[in-house]
Symmetry: C2
Subunit: 344 residues, 2 copies
């Protein structure tokens, strides 16, 4: 089969690799129908040291079960399934608490002999726990929205949920990438009436407005903080959803959060230390979020996607085939594409 | 009247100062009956630069209202009252949300022309909002417990509450000072069945056991983390209450918290940045807490103190008069006293 490998910064290739096969009776093999490139894939695409061997990459996909291991009881051959961006048994103590990203028997795609998601086939460990079966469909826009439950929309939802967003909270979303826009949509779905989106790409913030943003703040740094404070009578917002992952973005969050409010981080942190001193302490700011346990949210979000109440797949603004993946990375890195969908 | 002033590190003096008087119709003047020295007073006692003028100090007191401003309707002359460690109007948007520490008309004792709490009389701004009237009593041990509602027990309660402690959460308390012991008592009161106290002073951890700690870990750093993990099947505890305020203590919290768990900080941070990188993000650790809005908790905690269900005043292990305050500071700094009560 053919799959995507990354060899170093700016060096993504499509190559022939061995077909996966069932290795454990709890495995399934899934033929990928839709995959995509994640903002977090751009970090290695920007900085991975060059090497002679490539690493498999990609962690968002949906597809059809082609082989099912003998221990599986939920997942059957022929099922259309969504794979969350980590695999998990869905039975351990952490999974039972809804934290499948800390599963005792879980792991990540494209590592430890497990295929990446940007390829034709994927061996799925712990398939009964990992995969969520969905109604069969060939509707392209629905498939795109369903694919977002693998990662990006669940990540936005995780930000909003862990920040306690509801109809009484005001919200700021920092970042107008696909995760930020998903966070806007998730906050709107949870009832927030005031959603300030901080972003400076009009094509993206326009979609943010369609997703439910009530105000756009294009300014950054102190100027952006000042603008959000002006919009909130000086107080800031109850919830701030950090969807970038950089230290300046986090500093902006501290600047725009209301006393007693919550900053939820879902941008993978490109820093090891952050602001936890007196300004955060004296104002009782909570910092929460983390890597999203998508598996915990898929069943809850699925009905709204299936009936079209929400269309998170609108974050995809370019569709390519597997051969187009290297160009897709470059387009996202150049900000010429918001998020690239791979149709097989 | 006589009051406590701090002139520099190690230099606390009792001096004659002008009697306070009503300056605004919302003021009251309170004659102090009990006051005390706070762990946070020890930071300036350790490091304040020496100067020719002293600053008033002390922020925990209860007493009898001696004069009441003309605008007051709740507080009356002769009332026995508890003063939380900041004053607040109790009506602004933040007070209404239970965050009186961010009151729009609030402030701190011993600053901006307001008396400190370690003196004979205190002018109390926003007295109707600030003061909580309690039944008159001369019972010394009850007065000691009531005084803890001014700060230390409410601070422990804030740690436990913001960490979401209940009968299903396991808890680690980092620090065996008066705040840490209060956090143990608060966690026990909220139903926690497993409370691990990290501390290495046997006289203090013994009181911790009486307050509800089920395990004592005397080791610090990596060794202490390892010990807590051993006690929790490797997982750590759901809630970790940080009651010290130093960076190493916070690092210990990150080491002992369970994936998906919460670190609540109530030790005033002696650092500006802290761990917010991948180990915290990938494990979905929330960091919450902050300066405790004691005013928000007093009414809720009062019945359990009045009927003796809890005796938080047991953290006081030395009682002095006003002239003894300088020695009291030194005794606490030398760890010869856990917490010093000042009886007038």
């Amino acid at each position: 089969m053919r799959a995507t490998l990354i060899y170093g910064a700016g060096d993504v290739r499509i190559e022939e690799v061995p077909d996966p096969r069932i290795e454990h009776p709890t495995d399934a093999v899934v033929r990928v129908v839709r995959s995509c490139v994640c903002g977090s894939d751009l970090w290695p695409y920007a900085s991975r040291p060059a090497s002679e061997h490539g690493d498999r990459i990609g962690h968002e996909f949906l597809g059809v079960v082609e082989q099912a291991g003998s221990d599986l009881s939920r997942v059957r051959t022929g099922d259309l399934v969504i794979a969350p961006f980590v695999y998990s048994d869905n039975t351990c103590q952490f999974c039972q608490e809804g934290l499948q990203t800390s599963c005792e028997h879980g792991g990540t795609w494209g590592a430890d002999g497990v295929d990446g998601g940007q390829g034709e086939l994927v061996r799925v460990p712990q398939a009964d726990g990992t995969l969520v079966t969905i109604p069969s469909t060939q509707d392209s826009s629905l498939l795109a929205s369903l694919l977002t439950l693998s990662d990006v929309f669940c990540t936005g939802h995780h930000a909003a949920t862990t920040a306690g967003v509801n109809e009484r909270t005001t919200v700021t979303v920092v970042g107008d990438g696909a995760v930020g826009l998903s966070a806007v949509l998730a906050a709107k779905r949870l009832g927030a009436e005031r959603i300030i989106l901080m972003g400076r790409h009009p094509d993206r913030t326009d979609l943010g407005i369609e997703f439910g943003a009530t105000d756009i703040v294009a300014e950054r740094g102190d100027e952006g903080i000042e603008k959000v404070r002006e919009l909130t009578s000086g107080a800031g917002t109850h919830a701030v959803l950090e969807c970038v992952g950089t230290k300046p973005a986090l500093d902006t969050c501290v600047g725009v959060v209301r006393a007693g409010g919550t900053i939820s981080r879902v941008g993978a942190p490109q820093y090891s230390e952050g602001p936890l001193g007196r300004p955060v302490f004296m104002r009782n700011i909570a910092i929460t979020g983390g890597v999203a346990p998508a598996r915990n949210y898929i069943e809850e979000l699925l009905p709204d996607v299936l009936d079209g109440t929400i269309q998170p797949g609108r974050v995809f603004d370019r569709t390519i085939d597997l051969d187009g993946v290297p160009d897709g990375y470059q387009a996202m890195a150049d900000r010429k594409a918001l998020k690239v969908l791979v149709a097989f």
